[in-house]
Amino acid sequence: MEKILEVTNLCKTYIVNKRQNNVLKNVNFSVETGQMIAIMGPSGSGKSTLLYTVSGMDKATAGEIYFCGRELSKLSAKELADVRLDKMGFIFQQMYMLKNLTILDNVVLPAIQSKKNTATRKEKVTNAQQLMRKLGIIDICGNDINEVSGGQLQRACICRSMVNNPKIIFADEPTGALNRTSSDEVMEELCKINNNNGTAIMLVTHDIKVAARCARVLYIVDGNIQGEYNLDKFTDPSTLRDRERKLNSWLMELGW
């Protein structure tokens, strides 16, 4: 399998009130095409920082991050923006969307902005609508963002992250603001995308149920990867409880 993301000796340091805070300490890992990987750890352990740093949204203090063979630290702001637009997708805990646009417009926006996406505008809109149909939110495509539920909005965010057919989707606690039913629905959609499209997914979560759907789980404590747990690719929902149990006992061993 091709490595799309390779992280070597990654360090991230914040200086707050003249005090140095080493959030990430020599982190090493890689993500392969089509892999679904979860990052877990206690609050303040550096999970989100790791996600934002490896996705190029934040700058690393030291170390190397290779994405699709290109070292992110060597890219200009414009090149990084292009990489994020065409090859990465993002989902956040809060469902950030432009307030003044409809759901469909929010979803189709990155596609129309992309120069690499050579489809016509009509095709881009149709593609966005198809994605929304797949995720069951086609009925709300003309709505404003304040007219829909949190679960619908998060699915719209997933559609937006998918609209340029990215290599990888970074998700920061994508179900954190959702109830259990909505959370399950959202994770089902992410797994489908991972299985059907071969899009790699790297997500940060506190939820074992969410992490159990991933093939790899990295456990991070104080900016260090404490351990890695490998599971099979999640294809059969009936195995979910078993995966959760196994993951839970591994996490307990690590002091979860």
Partner: protein, 791 residues
């Protein structure tokens, strides 16, 4: 606890609080300085006239009446005259004056007199608006225009020679003489020490040069006017209102500054209201949380009221301090000829500053009423309760073929029209102010204005450096015709085909029934009556026809078709009024007499300058060459084109008006930049999370900066277009009153379209857009990873 919440709030929302503080400071600065200017300018003339001691009626006489009766004798016998004070003067001419041993080069337009300070009736003020209390021997004071037009400085030596008497004086300073001080009046009055003045009483030709200034207080000005209307020694007479109207140019400038002050006040309050409402809207989370933990509405409101009170007091103090020099800078532009009463200036500044604080508190009180509408749910759901179904965007990206950046810019405007309308309004008012000012200035400097001075438009004007008294003789008309013919021949010999003309001025009494008045009367030589511009009726083409100005028509209650009687020294004749016209001579006086009427030119009052009109349509380059040639042919005259000549007629105010116009353009640019940048900062503070999100999904800094700048550019361009479209009607409305006072009621702006409607709005637009572009560079500081940290 409240103090702690307040402290935290001030720290945490630093940017928005600083923006609000700046707006409060600006508002206080503008309102206090404008309020001071308002009162100063509105009361300026009356207070100046009062402090200078200008009477109800003023008369200037020269020489002695044939019947030996002086005006003073007549006036003192009138029972409705309560006071009559006189001041002697000696008439001289510019020929008699040398500065630093050089003859001065100032075109002749008015009368020059010497007076003694000791016998002066008026109170005079110096350049620093201080009362002049003494003039030492060997020193004199004169009018400021004399200094500026001749590049003379205070301290220079001036020599006055009349007949057999000559004396040298040091120029002590310039004088503010309330009667002769306006730029519209060309009379030069040199005020001397009594001993120096007495030396000139020994001149040989004293009798013909002696005159009097008569200051009369009366309870019946109308009767007084009628009583003295036939006196031949009167060279100038007018009531206090007429004297006030001679300051029209100063008042135009002051008026424009007033309009600008109103503009600043509107901007200040509109922006304040917006900023307070805007910042309060952003507080929903805090308000929700406070409500959730059980704090009462009244307590929450008081917290915000305390915060805004603290900020408004801080802003008011800074604004009050800055407002004093700012107001003085504006006022200085209008105070060259008038003594502006600014004694109560600081008090007015203080009152205005307190008023702004009170108004802010009122805004705040009204805005905080919304506190009771915020619920704890607002805090929990980040302001989105799911119950707000108000549709925001009206255009859809999926249905419109626009680049996302352009689409977002347009969509932002439509979605948040209220907030963008603030920028639009301030920008529109700014452009309107500039266009109205420039249109007024260019109209007042346009050669088309010549027709408002009872003359025909010509290509070149030969301005007399001294009074051409050779025509003010019985056969002057014939002599003038011959001289004009000779000029035409001389010009023709030098390759210039042209018609030459001139206007002779008389002061005739015109009456209809019981109504009569004295009016300037004009007769053209080298022109025909149909070449002049009339408001109604037809030109007086026959000998027994006249045209009169609407001011004269109103005074004697005459209309077209009426018969009026005009009295000259030869007797009275009846004329039919065939046309009404407008004139700015002597605030609207005028009678146009047909050129065929033979008048005794010995009774003429003055002759206007020679006018040359080309008959062969030369190109602009040829015109420039011809002006050079005419200057060589007529070295004893000052050669001017139409624009320059108009400037002479309006008292050389063009340069001064241009300075004011540039100052206004500069202030408007600064205000617009300030408003736009601060608005952009407020939008940015509110949109940080959106910007971070856009960056996260792959929008480059350039694209986001482009969006921020583009939407402001669209709003400002729309505002500029609306302002340009409104410029003419709004301008007419704003300045018609001013022109009407001068005698013109039908205003057609002389518009320099390229300069007024394209170049200046473009300059303001480009400067503002560049500043918004620079301000929006702050987008670069927002990192996409901050998305979860930004509220």
């Amino acid at each position: 606890m409240y103090l702690n919440i307040l402290k935290k709030d001030l720290k945490r929302k630093k940017t928005m609080n600083i923006i609000l503080l700046i707006f409060i400071t600006l508002a206080v600065m503008f309102v206090s300085s404008s309020g001071n200017n308002f009162t100063s300018i509105f009361t300026a003339l009356d207070s100046y006239m009062d402090s200078a001691g200008v009477p109800d009626y003023f008369i200037g006489t020269k020489g002695t009446a044939p019947n030996g009766k002086s005006v003073t004798d007549i006036v003192k016998k009138l029972d409705y005259v309560t006071s009559c004070k006189t001041e002697n003067c000696i008439y001289t001419s510019l020929d008699a004056i040398k500065v630093n041993n050089k003859k001065i080069d100032m075109q002749y337009m008015g009368q020059e007199t010497l007076t003694s300070f000791k016998s002066s009736v008026l109170t005079y003020f110096d350049g620093n608006n201080e009362k002049i209390t003494n003039i030492d021997k060997g020193e004199l004071y004169l009018k400021k225009t004399f200094l500026t037009e001749n590049n003379i400085s205070i301290g220079d030596k001036i020599t006055i020679t009349i007949d057999n008497v000559s004396d040298e004086f040091t120029i002590k300073g310039y004088i503010k003489n309330a009667v002769f001080g306006s730029s519209m009046i060309d009379n030069q009055n040199f005020v001397l020490n009594q001993a120096d003045y007495e030396k000139f009483l020994k001149i040989n030709s004293l009798e013909s040069r002696k005159g009097q200034y008569i200051y009369i207080d009366t309870t019946n000005t109308a009767s007084l006017k009628q009583e003295i209307s036939d006196d031949p020694t009167i060279v100038f007479a007018g009531d206090r209102n007429l004297i006030k109207t001679t300051y029209i140019m100063d008042m135009i400038i002051a008026g424009i500054l007033l309009v600008m002050s109103i503009f600043l006040i509107i901007i200040a309050f509109v922006i304040l209201k917006f900023t307070i409402t805007f910042t309060l809207k952003e507080e929903f989370r805090e308000i929700g949380i406070m409500k959730a933990i059980g704090i009462k509405n009244i307590k929450i409101r008081s917290l915000y009221i305390v915060k805004y009170f603290a900020m408004s007091v801080t802003g008011a103090v800074i604004g009050f301090i800055c407002g004093i020099p700012f107001g003085n800078m504006l006022l200085m532009q209008a105070s060259d000829n008038i003594v502006l009463n600014s004694k109560s200036g600081v008090l007015i500044n203080l009152i205005c500053s307190i008023a702004v604080v009170l108004i802010i508190m009122l805004f705040c009180y009204r805005s905080t009423k919304k506190v009771k509408h915020f619920t704890p749910v607002d805090a929990i759901r980040n302001g989105q309760t799911g119950e707000r179904f108000r549709r925001k965007g009206i255009i859809k990206l999926s249905k419109i073929h626009l680049r996302p950046v352009t689409f977002m810019a347009i969509n932002d405007i439509f979605s948040g029209f209220k907030q963008f309308s603030i920028v639009m309004l301030s920008f529109m008012i700014g452009i309107l102010l500039i266009t109205i000012t420039l249109n007024t200035m260019s109209t007042l400097q346009s050669d088309k204005l010549i027709s408002w001075f009872s003359m025909t438009e010509s290509d070149v004007y030969l301005v007399f450096k001294n009074s051409e008294e050779k025509y003010i003789v019985s056969d002057g008309h014939q002599k003038l015709k011959e001289d004009l013919k000779e000029m035409e021949n001389k010009l023709s010999d030098n390759g210039i085909k042209a018609k030459c003309a001139s206007e002779i001025l008389f002061k005739f009494t015109i009456e209809k029934g019981d109504y009569k008045c004295k009016s300037l009367s004009f007769q053209g030589t080298g022109t025909t009556a149909d070449q002049y511009t009339y408001l109604e009726g037809t030109a007086p083409v026959n000998k027994n026809e006249v045209a009169i100005t609407y001011i004269i028509a109103d005074t004697i209650h005459a209309k077209i078709g009426d018969t009026v009687t005009i009295s000259t020294v030869e007797g009275s004749s009846d004329y039919i009024v065939t046309a009404i016209y407008q004139s700015m001579n002597n605030m609207g006086e005028g009678i146009r007499i047909n050129e065929k009427v033979e008048l005794d030119y010995s009774q003429a009052f003055e002759i206007f300058d020679y006018q040359i009109t080309y008959t062969d349509n030369p190109t602009d380059n040829e015109k420039n060459d011809r002006i050079k040639l005419i200057k060589e042919l007529y070295p004893n005259y000052s050669v001017k084109n139409g624009g320059e000549y108009v400037d002479t007629l309006i008292g050389g105010a063009a340069g001064y008006m241009n300075d004011v116009a540039y100052l206004i353009v500069l202030i408007v640019i600064i205000i617009n930049i300030l408003v736009s940048v601060l608005m952009e900062k407020s939008f940015f503070t509110n949109e940080k999370s959106e910007i971070a999100m856009l960056k996260a999904i792959g929008f480059s800094n350039r694209a986001i900066i482009c969006r921020q700048t583009l939407r402001m550019a669209i709003v400002m361009t729309a505002a500029a277009i609306i302002a340009v479209l409104l410029a003419d009607p709004v301008g007419q409305l704003a300045v018609t009153g001013i022109f009407r006072i001068m005698g013109a009621k039908n205003i057609i702006f002389d518009v320099n379209i390229i300069q007024t409607y394209i170049i200046y709005p473009l300059i303001v637009l480009v400067c503002t857009i560049i500043s918004v572009f620079i301000a929006s560079q702050q987008v670069r500081k927002v990192s996409s990873s901050e998305i979860n940290n930004i509220e």
